[in-house]
Structure formats: structure tokens, C-alpha cells
């Protein structure tokens, strides 16, 4: 083989020499790639092995800490210095603590939180919160919410107007979770409009993560953001805050169509007694969109005659609202027939 290669180098044609060079280059590249793959694979196996060992050590240690009561603060520090040196190891420790926190409640959870501080994992969380990298921030806020780390409130609040939706959502989740009596205080600090998904999310968090007194939603009726005002009206109706009806009525005269429409819709849900008269008096001067809202709520706030009287008030060219009206009318006729039968 060596002789053959030497022969080509000394006596071979140019094309053969080029061929030989390329063969060697490709051979070296292939060798490099295969070695890299093997090396990475080996690294991955090592990492997985280390991770498994760490998970096991953490799980055993936490169980002893929670249920054995024979550990001293020194043991906790020793475990930390031996097993939780790198950021990676600390992240795994946080993940494990969260699994325990998720499954246990009562004094066990308080102990888990204490261990979090004894292992100084709050430092990593704080570092992540200040990192400026959105996924690290979102993860750190999530950890803070799950472990109810109230000390990070100011830091988390600074991410309320983050460009990333994920960070904003985690911040909302945190602020509602840690709150004891003013869960929506953060709305005062919001500068970017809250999306429909965020509104649903806030509503859900309020129901599942907060157990204090329900706030007076009228506080945010005059917020600078329309989306917050709309959310506030929705919540007033959702939580049947009848005492706030008077504060919602002025929005029937709002110049912003969406606020006016929301006021009509939610006042109807709250069964505001003077809404029908308002609808009758102003229907002709309303925009097609507002007319649509009125048509939809008529049956709820009035009787069938009230509803049918509006048929002649819809202009012939307003085909959209005529269609809405006719659909509701046919549904109504079907329902009446089925009741009669």
C-alpha cells in the first residue's frame, strides 16, 4: 500500500495525485466526525450517569431530611459542598425539590423551602432573575412561585412588562400566588396591554392559586390600558359584584366602542334594570358592532316582544345584524315549538 502511494506521488499523473489528496482529506474528515460522535456520546453517557447518581443522592438525602430528623445543619452543608457545586447540580437540586414540593403539603413543604435556603439555591435563582436571558428568568420566576419566595417580589415585578410573553405570564403567576390579600395589585404596574390569553390566565390563577379575599375589580375600571378596563368589567360580572354596577354605567356612553360594547354585555349579565331602556333609546344611533351586541343580549334583559320589536329597527342594508337577528329569532321559534309540543 505504502509503495503504491509512493509510486503515485513520484510517477503518477496530476489527476491521480489530486484524487489521492481528496481521499486522504475525506478519510480524515470522516475519522474526525466519527471520533466526535463517539466522544459526544461518551460525554452524554457520563452526564446521564452523573445525573442519575445525583438524583438518587438528592432523593435519598431529602427523604432522610424530611422523615428521619437525624440530620444536623452540618450534614446539610456537607452535602451541599460535596454535591451541589456547579450551576448544573444546583439546577437538578431545585428540580428535585420542586417534585417533592408538588407532591407534599403542610409542614413538609415548609421544610423543603428551608432546605432550599440552607443549600443557598436562592442565590442561583436570584442570579437567573437578573440574568437578562428570558428562559432563565421565566424558570427562576416559576421556582419562586412554586416555593413562594416572597423576597423576590420586587425583582419579579420588574419583569411584568417583559417583551417575552412567557416571562410576563410567569410574573403574573408568581404575583398572584404569593399574594395574601391584593392579588391583582400588579395591574397598576402593567404598561403593555394584557392579551386575551393573559386575561384567562389571570382569572384561572385567581381561582386556583389565591385563597384570600376577592378584590374590588372596579379599581381598574379607569386604568390607562383598555385591555385592563375590559378585564375589570368582565371580572365584575364574573364575580357578581352588583355594587359596582353604577361605576360601569358611565361606560355605556364611552367613545371607545369596545368599552361601550363590554359595558352593555356585562351589565346585561349583571341584569342591570335600566339597560333595556338604554338599548331602545340609543339603538338607531349605535354602530353596527354595538347593534350586534344589543341584539344578542335583548332576550336576556327583556321579554320576547321586546326582542321582536327590534326587527324593524335594523336597516335593510345592515345584512350582518339582520342575519344575527334572524338566527336568534329562528332559535327562539324552535325553542317555543318544542316547549309547546
Amino acid at each position: 500500500m505504502e509503495e503504491f502511494i509512493e509510486h503515485i506521488i513520484q510517477n503518477g499523473e496530476l489527476i491521480l495525485k489530486i484524487n489521492l489528496i481528496f481521499t486522504m482529506v475525506f478519510f480524515l474528515i470522516t475519522l474526525f466526525f466519527i471520533s466526535s460522535i463517539l466522544f459526544l456520546r461518551y460525554q452524554k453517557i457520563l452526564k446521564e450517569k452523573k445525573l442519575k447518581k445525583l438524583n438518587e443522592a438528592l432523593s435519598n438525602f431529602i427523604n432522610i431530611y424530611l422523615f428521619d430528623e437525624s440530620l444536623s445543619p452540618n450534614d446539610i452543608k456537607t452535602f451541599q459542598s460535596q454535591n451541589l457545586k456547579s450551576a448544573f447540580e444546583q439546577k437538578i437540586a431545585i428540580k428535585t425539590l420542586l417534585v417533592f414540593e408538588e407532591n407534599f403539603k403542610g409542614s413538609t413543604n415548609t421544610m423543603i423551602c428551608d432546605l432550599f435556603f440552607m443549600w443557598e439555591l436562592d442565590k442561583l435563582t436570584e442570579r437567573d432573575l437578573k440574568s437578562g436571558i428570558w428562559y432563565k428568568i421565566a424558570r427562576a420566576i416559576y421556582v419562586s412561585s412554586e416555593l413562594r419566595l416572597i423576597d423576590f417580589k420586587e425583582l419579579v415585578q420588574s419583569h411584568l412588562n417583559s417583551e417575552r410573553e412567557e416571562v410576563r405570564q410567569q410574573a403574573i403567576f408568581y404575583l398572584i400566588t404569593i399574594s395574601e390579600e391584593k392579588p391583582l395589585e400588579f395591574l397598576d404596574l402593567i404598561k403593555t396591554p394584557i392579551t386575551l390569553w393573559e386575561q384567562i390566565y389571570i382569572e384561572e390563577c385567581l381561582k386556583t392559586k389565591y385563597s384570600g379575599p376577592i378584590p374590588d375589580f372596579s379599581i381598574w375600571l379607569h386604568h390607562t390600558l383598555t385591555s385592563v378596563q375590559l378585564f375589570s368589567m368582565k371580572m365584575i360580572s364574573e364575580y357578581n359584584q352588583y355594587e359596582n354596577i353604577d361605576k360601569m354605567v358611565p361606560f355605556l356612553l364611552s367613545e371607545k366602542e369596545e368599552l361601550k360594547n363590554a359595558a352593555i354585555e356585562y351589565l346585561a349579565q349583571l341584569e342591570y334594570s335600566e339597560l333595556l331602556d338604554y338599548c331602545k333609546e340609543t339603538f338607531n344611533s349605535q354602530t353596527p358592532n354595538t347593534k350586534k351586541v344589543i341584539i344578542k343580549i335583548l332576550q336576556r334583559i327583556g321579554n320576547t316582544d321586546d326582542f321582536l320589536k327590534f326587527e324593524n329597527r335594523i336597516p335593510a342594508h345592515d345584512w350582518m345584524n339582520l342575519q344575527v337577528f334572524n338566527n336568534l329569532k329562528s332559535n327562539f321559534i324552535e325553542e317555543s315549538n318544542s316547549v309547546t309540543v
Binding site: L66, N103, F104, K105, S107, T108
Partner: protein, 126 residues
Amino acid sequence: MEKILIIEDNPMVSKSLEFKLSRDGYEVFIAEDGRVAKEILEKQKFDLILTDLMLPFVTGIQLIEHVKAVYPGTPIIVLSTSKQEDIIMDAFNLGVEDFITKPFSPNELSVRVKRSIKSASLPEIK
């Protein structure tokens, strides 16, 4: 020493339960799914069975049916999430003794386990 069989597919939870109940003085056996649990149950009888409802291969309900048919006197405590209301009702209808929702307090679990074993060992009043 009383024997307890834990059927739970989350290894971290089953390990904690094993740890806690061992410390309370019980001999604890673990099955990660309903199929393994059935195999263990074929070989020995337990003083109490602690089971999740959402299990792979054999569901918690099928397992409860099996235990109640083979060992009618063995008390069963269900450890599950509160969202599974319809399944919880089925479990109670099958004669489950107690129900604990996740997240749970390990101390409360200890008390309930102790109480269930004690009630099962009392002679029936005729």
C-alpha cells in the same frame, strides 16, 4: 411487622412513601404499575394497600376490584389527585377504605395508614 404494598408510578413519590412508612415501622413493598402489583399480590397477602388510581397497564380501579375479590379484608387507601372525581366515586363504591389527595401531608398519611390497619384488624361486631 405489618406489610404494606405501595402502587405508585412516580418513583420519587413511592420512594418517599417507602421511606416514611418504613420509619413508622412497616415492611414496605413497591410496585410501579398495576401488573407488577398483581404479581406481588399472587405471592403474598398485605395488611394494607396504598395505590394511585392512574396507573399504566392495569388501572387503579381494576386493581382495587382484583384486591377486593382476592383479599376482601385488606384495607385499601387511594392516593390520587382530586381532579379524578368520577373515578374516586367508583373506588369508594368498590369498598375502598380511605382516600388521600395529592399533594398530601406525610404525617396525615401515617395517621390514616395506622387507623386503617387498626380498623381492619378489629373483630367484626355481629
